[in-house]
């Protein structure tokens, strides 16, 4: 199994498509809620589509991606992680939501495992993000996400037409 998809990111087109789809699904959900649709599976599926759009937008490169964006991406992920942990701790403190603290603990444990794995084994795939030129595994992941997005959109349109 190749691990390059873990260290490489999708192309710029998946960022654009992801942002468009995420925005579209957000609008769909707002419209649904305004019209009082409380069909939970439908709302849940819309949320998943929104999330997959965001994944496409976050894990993809810029049009002219270079090492400055690597530094920016590292800072953004680090800051996001810190905000996430602080939010979880706040939720835990004020609402005593035990599950939330497990998410934070689990996330940090996974981080430490990946970090020390890379420190000790020094795998070359983590240093190859900018050098992979051929079709990457991540591209297949994003193509799959895009197909799911489009497929679900078509299903949605057909459901609306039935009403």
């Amino acid at each position: 199994m190749k691990f390059s998809f873990l260290s490489s990111l999708g192309d710029f087109y998946s960022k654009k498509l992801g942002l468009i789809m995420a925005f579209a699904w957000l609008v769909v959900e707002i419209v649904l809620r305004i019209h009082g649709v409380v069909d939970k599976p439908m709302i849940g599926a819309t949320n998943i589509m929104f999330l997959s759009g965001l994944i496409m937008a976050v894990f993809s490169k810029e049009k002219t991606d270079d090492e400055r964006f690597l530094a920016i991406r590292y800072f953004s992920f680090k800051t996001t992680m810190l905000i996430f942990i602080l939010t979880v701790v706040a939720v835990y403190s004020f609402k005593y939501n035990v599950e939330s603290i497990y998410y934070a603990i689990g996330t940090l444990i996974v981080y430490l495992m990946i970090y020390y794995f890379c420190v000790f084994f020094n795998p070359d795939f983590i240093f190859k993000e900018n050098t992979i030129k051929s079709r990457k595994n991540s591209d297949y992941l994003f193509i799959m996400l895009a197909i799911i997005q489009v497929g679900f959109a078509m299903f949605w349109i057909s459901e609306i037409l039935k009403m």
Binding site: E62, T64, D66, E67, R68, F69, A71
Partner: protein, 70 residues
Amino acid sequence: MKNLIKVERARKSITQAELADELKVSRQTINSIELEKFIPSTVLALKIAAFFKVKIEELFILEDKDWEIL
């Protein structure tokens, strides 16, 4: 680390955007390097030096603070 990219660019009469296009990086990256906000990788530094046909140590100059522990 100081650099003389702006000087070399002026000598060649090219814009940041043109240099960025040649090096396949964004214009903001060239701007950040010129303003000494961002230190380029060895590969990019060598590419810039090769583009201007100068030695890398003539283009990028280490300062005393660069010897301090990061």
